[in-house]
């Protein structure tokens, strides 16, 4: 498996292979057809599968999700695209009150195999309405599954799993990772939803992160290894359901843990991770669960400010140094 493709190509390949394999799969979204989507996630698919199955929609996020819900509940496997993650707010009712709840409200009789795809994350000077990491909002909603891959291999396997999944999933592509290259098998494969990946084993401290942040953490871990600081790095990959077991097990071993994400710290998913860790591994903790995240403000446009807004490799390194320096219990 020496073929390297990019993160967004891995996404595209998963969609293409599932569409070829299963004629109930179709895609709909703004500018995804002829143009292939603003991130080129859907490039070439309309040419291959036709306008009936790769649909350019009006700018109507509510109806885009509704299109997916109605088609899914009646036997198709829709993939519907919300261009930027910030725009889920425009369609929030259809996501939160319709897609997520239909099965339960209907006493189980509905099945909603819907995949929602979107681009999240900051670092492109795209300002307050095109840079957010809003995963905490959707992870709080029973009925949804939330996925955020950090590399091309995971992207293909997780996207394939999303499409085959019989529940509404939200696949968040990190905009800064679109061009990231990595080895990706050509044949279709699934990575089960809800399984974390331990990117690196270590004994001194656990870092849990997702999206671009976990890659930063991984690089920091490699660097610190040279100094004898042994960092375990965990990427949950699926944020809902969250693979708490893997995290807890790691913390029971390392006794120290930092959670890092791009989203705002207050009420971010890191809070849930921290809360669960202290519940499940209370007696194993030598230090409070650390959280590294964006401060409490909208995402600023200015690159100078945004650089301070997003957690950086430096911040992660410092946080690791601080937590391992803290005397144990």
């Amino acid at each position: 498996m020496s073929r390297k493709i990019s993160y967004v190509q891995a996404f595209n390949e998963a969609v293409r292979q599932e569409m070829a394999d299963d004629e109930t799969v179709f895609c709909a979204g703004e500018d995804i057809g002829a143009f292939g989507g603003v991130f080129q996630s859907y490039a070439g698919l309309q040419a291959e599968f036709g306008e009936e199955r790769v649909v350019d929609t009006p700018i109507s996020e509510q109806a885009i999700i509704g299109l997916g819900v109605g088609a899914a509940a009646t036997g198709l496997r829709p993939i519907v695209d919300i261009m930027f993650m910030d725009f889920i707010c425009v369609a929030f009712d259809q996501i939160v009150n319709q897609a997520a709840k239909m099965k339960y409200m209907f006493g189980g009789s509905a099945t909603v195999p819907l995949t929602i795809t979107t681009g999240g994350g900051g670092g492109l000077s795209a300002a307050a309405q095109h840079s957010q990491s809003l995963e905490a909002l959707i992870c709080h909603i029973p009925g949804l599954k939330v996925i955020m891959p950090s590399n091309p291999y995971d992207m293909k396997g997780l996207m394939t799993a999303c499409i085959r999944e019989n529940n509404p999933t939200i696949m968040v592509k990190h905009k800064r990772l679109l061009g990231m290259q990595g080895e990706v098998p050509e044949e279709p494969y699934m990575i089960p939803l809800g399984q974390a990946a331990t990117l690196r084993e270590g004994s001194d401290v656990t870092v849990v992160g997702w999206g671009r942040m976990v890659n930063e953490a991984f690089d920091v871990a490699k660097k610190l290894a040279a100094e004898g600081i042994d960092v375990e790095v965990i990427d949950p990959r699926t944020l809902q359901p969250l693979d708490t077991a893997t995290i807890i097990e790691s913390v029971r071993k390392t006794n120290r843990v930092i959670v890092v994400h791009e989203a705002v710290r207050f009420g971010g998913l890191g809070a849930e991770v921290a809360a669960q860790i202290q519940e499940e591994a209370f007696d194993h903790l030598d230090a409070p669960v650390g959280r590294l995240a964006a401060p409490f403000s909208p995402v600023p446009f200015s690159p100078a400010l945004e650089a301070h807004y997003l957690p950086s490799a430096n911040d992660i390194e410092q946080a690791i140094r601080d937590i391992v320096a803290r005397p144990g219990a």
Partner: protein, 329 residues
Amino acid sequence: MELSTEVLMDMHRRMVRIRLFEEAAGQLAEAAKLPGFLHLYVGQEAVAAGVCATLSDGDQITSTHRGHGHLVAKGGEFRPMMAELMAKSTGYNKGKGGSMHISNLDVGMLGANGIVGAGAPIAVGAGFGNKLKGNGNVSAAFFGDGSTNIGAFHEAANMACALKLPVLFICENNEYGEFTPRDQTMAITDIVDRAAGYGMPGVIVDGMDVVAVHEAAVEAKARALRGEGPSLIEAKTYRFYNHHGVQNLGLKYRTDDEVSEWKERDPIFTFEDRMVEAGNATRDDFNTVWAELRADIADAIQFADDSPAPDPEQLLVDVYTMSTEGAAS
């Protein structure tokens, strides 16, 4: 259009079924036997009956907070419906949905909906599915006058038109949204004026006349199946009871005169009169129908009464579909 006696009697039966179900539900609510909110469809029976008489189980409808009428008209059975309203485990939704989410996918009823306007995009999704599958089915979205002011309606209408989907938009204009008259919330008198803005035909029908509704629906369905896209049918109608529950809440937002004028035009009784006058049926024929259905209602209430409440262990069941792949279609 000449309708056969069979079709006419079928529509009558649908109307009487709604009337009896709703009256019974109202009485049960007054006797504090129905938890939650209850929005009765009494007075509007001709709309659901006229439209649904043109549909088969393979055709889908979406509904509103005022949803039992639609489900009855679409072929919903009394027993599981009454059980659902009473929050019993034998209900269509196993007691998890109740009045505002009552549904039955087997007869193509994709749910009452607690969010005004939210059903329409879902009907568009079902319509998209029908078109892609080429199954010759249509979907119909029922919604109130007030709901045409919300964004989801607009997006759904436009998308269905842009994609030329086989969808029927059925507006039940009862002149009020809750306690506020229609003319305070829009500067137009006829909802049908909105149709041109989407590029679909719109027609006003007497919503107290099941035959008129039926004719319009037949035409809209034929157009949809010819691949010409959606239509908007505005049925002028009236709800005989309060927005929710049975009694007015003290506030006189409608005059007694207005209410009784509309009651003069009762869709069932006026239909019966016309049928008798035209020699298409006798009073006896109708009495038989009422008597038979009254017995069914009594049976359904008994059934619901005897049914158990959901077991607490059901609380976390059906939040997610537990299988992957293939369960949808």
